[in-house]
């Protein structure tokens, strides 16, 4: 059965017809063609699909599109400034080589921004624990951790 959903994605009002079982990530990728949000597993463990919904990070593979009705959703495509300037966390990932193949990266950045906002000045250990829900197979996390510590500082400084 088709249902209509409407929400705000990256500041833009969007709507579409989906099946009741359609996941938020499918709506984002297939209906809106915002393909920066990735699907890396089917058990809500890899975190590649992480987006922000109403200011909180969620795994968009674990939410129905219908559940996001009326929500304010931010995906990786909406993180940089309109003029293309990278968000301080994105810039930190680039500077510290916190990405290789790039597939887990959007989810990592979304989680990192949320973590930095809520836990400024976190230790390396805390950053590593906070990354439990985001899997990366390329970097060994070393540079992701460095990037998040630096990005966190840069975000605090930019406030």
């Amino acid at each position: 059965m088709a249902v209509k959903v409407s929400m705000k994605v990256n500041g833009k009002s969007v709507s579409g017809e989906v099946e009741a079982r359609t996941l938020l990530v499918t709506f984002i990728r297939e209906h809106l063609r915002l393909t920066g949000t990735h699907v890396g597993c089917d058990t809500a463990q890899c975190g590649a699909c992480t987006v922000q919904m109403n200011g909180k990070v969620v795994k968009s593979c674990s939410i129905l599109a219908m559940q996001a009705e009326g929500a304010d959703v931010l995906t990786i495509e909406g993180v940089a400034k309109a003029d293309g300037t990278l968000h301080p966390m994105q810039a930190a990932f680039k500077e510290h080589h916190g990405l290789q193949c790039g597939f887990c990266t959007p989810g990592m950045v979304m989680s990192a921004i949320d973590f930095a906002k809520n836990s400024p000045g976190a230790s390396e250990k805390e950053v590593r624990e906070a990354l439990e829900g985001n899997l990366c197979r390329c970097t060994g996390y070393h540079n992701i951790v460095k990037a998040i510590m630096a990005g966190s500082k840069a975000m605090a400084a930019a406030k």
């Binding site: 099946e19 079982r21 990728r29 297939e30 063609r33 915002l34 393909t35 920066g36 949000t37 990735h38 699907v39 890396g40 597993c41 089917d42 058990t43 463990q45 890899c46 590649a48 995906t75 990786i76 495509e77 993180v79 940089a80 293309g84 990278l86 994105q90 990932f93 680039k94 500077e95 080589h97 990405l99 290789q100 193949c101 790039g102 597939f103 887990c104 990266t105 959007p106 950045v109 390396e124 250990k125 950053v127 590593r128 624990e129 990354l131 439990e132 985001n134 899997l135 990366c136 197979r137 390329c138 970097t139 060994g140 996390y141 070393h142 540079n143 992701i144 951790v145």
Partner: protein, 786 residues
């Protein structure tokens, strides 16, 4: 131009698109009229397929077609080929059972492809796949290679009733036996190199489309080597003219070997796209990745090292049983042989080595190259033996290594390789210093006060990268060339596009290769773009695996650059009315030696494309060159790793507290990228040692570890921050002096970790993965024994 770009920590050119969600992976490609495929997979490890009923599925909403093995056979679709022929000790070729893209008659592992449903949407295809009725007669299954060769074991293939693919050997058996007879000490280990599932975070995907206009196909696929994929698919499976098929491997989200191969799904969607006249896309979900991606490792080995009274190695004897899974994947046969036994000399002067390998079919997913491919298995054998030998002989583990290091180069090993260069003392010395081995006893004592056990382990690995040369590889059974191709296209205004047959799926070629080109041409890196992964753009390519890209692909680019500069000199000579032999190229300028006359690279490029003042009678216009490079030898990266662990004896929980890695990759183009490769490799190696294990139920053959909940790839808090450094002995046979760095960490880490754990516990054996449960059990057993 400022400082050299070679050796500079240049931020990556590709990062912006990945960081902003603008990467284009295969599943991101949506074509007009797109349809979706879902595969019906065998739920049984071994079963006769008695019948397949399609009716219900065909009637389901949105379903366009259902195909089975019979349909493919009727369409003259061939089986998937194996790219390396191994000849056994009996002089016979290996057993190559048919590998149909959709099963015919029998399914041979859980996840084997039985049918495919194509529908308007992915959900519709997956729903209908559940409606395909397959009548199976379940057969007994065998998943353990050692059991598969026993009498009475179920046979997978008619042509291999004993399940043996081949028994192969390397080395002088008689000489090894004689050396063992004289030895004053023999160290013996029984080792299992645990089976792994690669798990690149991007699942495999393929999207094919057929054009009636010119009878051609385009396949987008998550592949590490699109040209090889095309060659195998057209020539061996679909019987299509190669020039009618374009294979595009766009952004690829990690490979680690698992995306080298030609898979059934790639073939099926390509074939089906013509049947339906519409594009057909398949994207694996993670559960499918677990059951259907080629797995790695899975060796059972008995290894012995013979020594004299001073700990000098006299001989090594190795017997390995390698599980190749249910069918031969593309390079399955060369991994436990050519890429394994040849590495058993390690960094040492062991004068004679004998290795015998039996490859065995089992009811499991095909096993093929996974990061390191044979070399991690060899390194694990050598370095576990060496460390254990040191303990048994009461020698310092660093000292026993030093006594046996190869010190003069080139060095011919007894297992067919010729190491061109290296300095093993330099990397070991640096690693010992970096790891503060001198401070270890104090840390151990301090840990003991807290009730913890601390241990230290070494691993000195060697690897062989850039398999070559092609003619030798051919003599050893390779069915493909092992060169690489590169093309430099200089545009009229002087910017440059480089086309490479190497493929980047995280390695950062778009930056590293651009550094090489920009440095050599003396231009800003912004003026150089690297293009890869599209058979319609790149003249040819063998792709990326085996840490070969910079050594082989990079060299092809350098060779093409040399031709560009040589032609540029001719043009510049004409423009400046000088002799060609007087022209020098330096930092973006063609100069007449000994004068102040010069022409910028851009001026020469412009003259080549607007040839008004140009030696047209002697020289073609344009500035575009390509080169194929076939290396004369492997490259031999090597390094020393020191791992320090701390174990909680009450729980068995093992933490890697310090990990120090000093590698010799020859010349390094971008240290930032190289360090990243090492971090990633180390983490996969630590994963193998501590957390990862592919487990099939021995009775039913069901994959028990089929999700990220059951198969534990390392998470951020499972691994430490690393200390990494390099030493440099440039490769002697390529112009950049480079060796390759992609696999080193995964090769060297497992032995270092296990050596550290066995040191902490004072035990000889520790199976991988050393999970808390396993370690706890070993501690308990050890206490009882004591």
């Amino acid at each position: 131009m400022a400082a050299s770009l070679i050796g500079a920590r240049v931020e990556r050119k590709e990062d912006y698109r990945f960081l902003t969600g603008a990467g284009q992976y295969t599943d991101d490609v949506a074509l007009p009229g797109q349809t979706h495929a879902a595969f019906v997979r065998s739920p049984h490890a071994h079963a006769k397929i008695k019948s397949i009923k399609k009716d219900k599925a065909l009637k389901a909403p949105g379903v366009l077609a259902v195909y089975t093995g019979e349909d493919l056979a009727a369409g003259k679709v061939g089986g998937l080929p194996c790219g390396w022929l191994i000849t056994g000790t009996d002089g016979q070729p290996m057993k190559e059972p048919p590998h149909p893209p959709l099963a015919q008659g029998k399914a041979r592992y859980v996840g084997d492809h039985v049918a495919v449903v194509i529908a308007e949407t992915q959900d519709a295809a997956r729903d209908a796949a559940e409606m395909v009725e397959v009548d199976y007669e379940v057969l007994p299954a065998v998943v353990d290679a050692s059991k598969a060769t026993q009498k009475g074991a179920p046979a997978l293939h008619d042509i291999a009733p004993d399940n043996k693919c081949y028994t192969w050997a390397l080395g002088d058996k008689a000489a090894v036996d004689a050396a063992f007879a004289k030895a004053s000490h023999v160290t013996k280990l029984d080792l299992i190199n645990n089976r792994l599932i690669p798990n690149a975070i991007e699942p495999r995907a393929a999207n094919a489309t057929y054009s009636r206009a010119d009878d051609s196909y385009t396949l987008y696929v998550a592949s590490q080597n699109p040209h090889v994929e095309r060659l195998l698919m057209t020539a061996f499976v679909l019987g299509l003219p190669e020039h009618k098929v374009r294979v595009v491997a766009p952004d690829v989200g990690g490979g680690f070997g698992s995306k080298i191969y030609l898979y059934a799904e790639d073939v099926v969607v390509t074939w089906a796209s013509r049947q339906l006249g519409r594009p057909v896309k398949w994207t694996a979900d993670r559960s499918e990745s677990f059951v259907s991606d080629a797995h790695g490792r899975d060796h059972h080995t008995v290894a012995e090292l013979a020594m004299d009274k001073d700990g000098k190695f006299l001989a090594m004897r190795v017997h390995t049983t390698a599980n190749v899974g249910a069918y031969l994947s593309t390079f399955a046969s060369c991994v436990p042989t050519i890429l394994y036994a040849t590495l058993l000399a390690g960094q040492y002067t062991t004068p004679v080595i004998y290795c015998e390998v039996t490859a065995v079919f089992t009811n499991t997913a095909p096993v093929d190259a996974y990061r390191g491919a044979g070399r991690p298995e060899a390194t694990y054998v050598v370095e576990r033996l060496v460390e254990t030998a040191a303990r048994e002989m009461k020698l310092d583990p660093a000292e026993i290594r030093r006594r046996n290091f190869i010190k003069t180069f080139p060095y011919q090993t007894p297992v067919a390789l010729m190491y061109d260069t290296g300095d093993y003392e330099a990397t070991l010395g640096a690693a010992i210093k970096m790891a503060d081995v001198a401070g270890f006893p104090k840390r151990k004592e301090e840990a003991a006060k807290r009730g913890k056990l601390r241990g230290l382990g070494y691993c000195c690995y060697i690897e062989a990268c850039g398999i070559a040369p092609s003619n030798i590889a051919g003599a050893l059974g390779a069915r493909a060339g092992l060169f690489e191709a590169g093309e430099i296209r200089v545009h009229p205004t002087g910017s440059v596009t480089v086309f490479t047959g190497s493929h980047s799926h995280g390695q950062g070629h778009e930056t590293t290769f651009a550094q090489v080109v920009a440095d050599k041409l003396g231009m800003p890196i912004e003026n150089v773009d690297i293009v890869h992964g599209d058979t319609s753009k790149i003249l040819f390519g063998m792709g990326t695996y085996g840490s070969r890209s910079i050594a082989v692909g990079g060299t092809a680019i350098v060779k093409a650059l040399d031709k560009i500069i040589a032609k540029g000199k001719k043009i510049a000579a004409h423009l400046m009315e000088a002799a060609e032999s007087d022209i020098e190229y330096d930092k973006g300028m063609f100069k007449v030696a000994g004068t102040d006359k010069q022409k910028a690279f851009g001026e020469v490029a412009f003259a080549a494309y607007v040839p008004h003042n140009y030696p047209l009678d002697k020289l073609e216009p344009g500035l575009n060159e390509n080169a194929f490079y076939d290396p004369t030898n492997f490259t031999f990266p090597a390094g020393s790793y020191v791992c320090e662990v701390e174990i909680d004896p009450d729980t068995g929980v093992t933490k890697v507290e310090r990990f120090s890695a000093v590698d010799d990759f020859g010349k390094i183009i971008n240290p930032m990228i190289v360090e990243g490769q090492v971090h990633g490799g180390l983490t996969q190696g630590i994963g193998q040692a501590l957390t990862e294990n592919c487990h099939y139920d021995p009775e039913s053959g069901q994959l028990i570890t089929g999700s990220f909940g059951d198969y534990s790839i390392p998470r951020a808090d499972d691994v430490p921050s690393y200390q990494v450094d390099t030493r440099e002995t440039p490769c002697t046979h390529n112009p950049l002096g480079v060796k390759g760095c992609g696999e080193a960490g995964a090769i060297g880490a497992p032995a270092a970790v296990i050596n550290a754990i066995t040191d902490a516990l004072g035990v000889k054996d520790m199976p991988m993965p050393a999970t808390a449960e396993t370690v706890w059990k070993v501690i308990r057993a050890n206490r009882k024994a004591a």
